[in-house]
Symmetry: C2
Amino acid sequence: MQTLPDWMAAVKFDQQGLVPVIAQDELTGRILMVAWANREALLETARSGHAVYFSRSRQRLWRKGESSGHTQIVKEIRLDCDGDVVLLIVSQIGDIACHTGRQSCFYRQLKQIDGTMQWQSVDPVLKDPDDIYK
Amino acid sequence: MQTLPDWMAAVKFDQQGLVPVIAQDELTGRILMVAWANREALLETARSGHAVYFSRSRQRLWRKGESSGHTQIVKEIRLDCDGDVVLLIVSQIGDIACHTGRQSCFYRQLKQIDGTMQWQSVDPVLKDPDDIYK
């Protein structure tokens, strides 16, 4: 691990050493996804200009797009008032952030259908995941 | 606690019974804030059409705007692909979501200043917090 820069001190990582990171599309303003970063991931994001997360399931750095090719070029890094959420404004390569082949992971909307509230998929699949991760 | 509706089962609450909730402005697309909800808060949000969170510091329901008047009218409720983050598209009353008197809590941007990376406040204070919480 490299020496941490001063700006990192303003970021409040949780007890697992992680902070939630929101990726927002710079063009459409859509929220693409939410993932997690540890200090190393956030440092690499800032230095490389590409979004790097920490995969909790795989317990390792996750360079977004490493298998899909759908990298995220970071345009802005922002921090919220209490320092515990990071926002990345990104250019989403391929226009697909979600592993389901959709632009955004937030493709389900709560709607009244036949008298009951249900989650409805409201965004199209732009590319078959089998074609993304082959 | 009331009986939980079926749609709630798709939401993955953490071990503390909480899920992170992003509030996004319906007009500007700006991310206003990130807070937490428990089942009760999310249920009240869906039923009332106003954003209700769970305050971790005060350990109670937080009806956004209860002291500031800056309520959030919920236009859409969305859920991400793995069900562990909720997105509210809202109309922000007063155009101020942050307790600092700014539109958004994400007012700090990482910038190169005099050769070093620093967090810079890039958004204006729209109203003095002393005037909001008097």
